[in-house]
Symmetry: C2
């Protein structure tokens, strides 16, 4: 990607890295995936329609928003595919979810896995990362088959608006290796993407993408060593490792394949961006397993759990209990 401009969110919004770090410190390193699969809708006794989708989404948000006015999770991650399968009516529900999450001060990561080039990529960036879009989220997931640098319009808009991106790097599904491991141990695709993200975060952080999470961005960079965005992470139970200041570019790294990252030479701790790790919970990764797999990068990990928590619904109390148990596992 081209050099992102210094990161001061408009409308007084602090940079994404600072906002996410503060949320992880406050709630713990857990992201609630909101995945309204047909089977879950059925299990919640809801119709597989936009009406059922809306009920599902609002219930999950209520659980995520917590009981005492502070968010129970660091972020929510709606799975866009499961809204898209309901067409424009599904997207209208997603818009409501994103809007109400903003009102509740719950951070949102739209799991859209978008990717294109040039002005078309700019179209996707505007959809998910611009202030005046009805689909505006705090961050969006991106897919780099057209090359990491093709995603530049999204990174640029993210930096300009205090938002973030998560680029697919190394995923846990067995088919992923055919693309992500290509190039071998020294030059794998996943390694090149990791290095590019590290480069862009270093650039953004050097030009002032650090800030106090509660106020406007400090663009002279002096808060970098003292603000909440640096060296904290006690809420995550990071042990002796400390979380670096987080830049605008996160990576998606499967919870169960963090161990492979080392073998492929991926310097995850050096990315200085959040590591979104799906596969915690239902898909088999435990907190202890993730901590071991991610090693020194652990303080930057945002574990995502969807079904393990969602199957505790439809009661808000059941969902909250699922969230508490997941957080306990992550903190153990």
């Amino acid at each position: 990607m081209t050099a992102p401009a210094a990161g001061s969110g408009d409308a007084g919004r602090a940079p994404w890295g600072a906002r996410l770090a503060a949320a992880m410190d406050a709630a713990g390193p857990l992201c609630l995936g909101i995945d309204p699969h047909p089977q879950l809708l059925h299990d919640w006794d809801l119709p597989d329609t936009p009406v059922g989708l809306e009920r599902f989404s609002m219930t999950a948000l209520e659980a995520a928003a917590g009981e005492d006015g502070s968010s129970a999770v660091a972020a929510i991650k709606p799975q866009v595919a499961l809204y898209e399968r309901h067409g424009s009516a599904g997207f209208a529900v997603l818009e409501r979810l994103l809007r109400e999450a903003r009102d509740e001060q719950v951070l949102t990561i739209a799991d859209a896995k978008r990717g294109d080039i040039g002005s078309t990529m700019a179209g996707y960036a505007e959809a998910w990362l611009s202030d005046d879009s009805p689909l505006a989220a705090d961050a969006v997931t991106l897919s780099p088959y057209l090359g990491y640098d093709s995603l530049a319009p999204a990174l640029e808009l993210a930096v300009a608006t205090g938002r973030g991106v998560f680029v697919l790097a190394l995923t846990s599904n067995p088919e992923g290796a055919s693309v992500q491991h290509a190039g071998g141990l020294e030059g794998s695709v996943a390694r090149s993407i990791t290095a590019s993200a590290a480069r862009d975060n270093a650039r953004a952080l050097a030009s002032g993408h650090v800030a106090d999470a509660n106020g406007t961005a400090d663009t002279n960079g002096t808060t970098g060593s003292t603000g909440v965005n640096e060296g904290t992470g006690t809420g995550a139970g990071g042990g002796t490792a400390v979380r670096p200041a987080l830049g605008p570019v996160g990576l998606v790294v499967g919870a169960t394949v963090a161990g492979q990252a080392e073998r492929l030479g991926l310097d995850l701790a050096g990315v200085r961006g959040a590591l979104l790790a799906p596969g915690f919970g239902a898909q088999g990764a435990s907190g202890a397993g993730m901590r071991a797999g991610f090693g020194s990068a652990w303080p930057s990990v945002l574990a995502t759990s969807s079904r393990a928590i969602l199957r505790r619904g439809p009661s808000v109390g059941g969902l909250r209990e699922g969230i508490r148990e997941a957080l306990e596992d992550l903190r153990r």
Copy 2:
């Protein structure tokens, strides 16, 4: 992908490969990209709103539908990003465009570049390829960063409903090589995806994914050597090369990089699927250049032109003139 079932479209719909081949024979190997970029909306004196988007889309469809009841192009390809940037209201316009194109018997390729895994991928497949989805198109473009085989749910639904997919393989943007060329000359990512598509098309065609484009699928495979779907392509001006029967899996191959495909060992003619080639016209590829670049695969090429034609609007007459000129260039 797992072995697709034999392909008989429901509702009497013939398989995608046969329908597309018939459309290419009738209209020529041209796909009109419908890309409502903000700049084009401005040039057409339309507002950058869902209202402007709708007017733009309906005008482009009118030009594509032709004057005499037969489609002026083989297919249209709406660029989903440029609808998505208008949120759910933009998606409602896209739904109308897809629905009216169906009524006008104009084939549609949703350029969505979606990709995910498992039941989430199935969600995207349902959105774009199921009969009862408001966003149902005839085919959809897919992005394989999570591995070609992760796209299986879309291929399976496409085969079951007489629809198709186009998987990103080798694109012309300079950033694409970092992923698509990884693995080197013998084992590049693009080559592996090409081989996988060839495998799936061979399987689908062997199990009966051939048919007369005007009727129901012939699942005993006997029409494979005599139907319109085999060995034709005179409308495309294919010279001595003949078009093979086309299976459900097409590839996206940039119009200007077809020459690279040979160097990377991609057997494009052996794919037995349509080759969607963006970059014809405004981005610099001429008909003669594409014919030379694609070589023996030329009869399977569906050239896509967006801006070179769209900038001839907003008059329907101007757009039709642009379509005629593009077709002349492709046939020369």
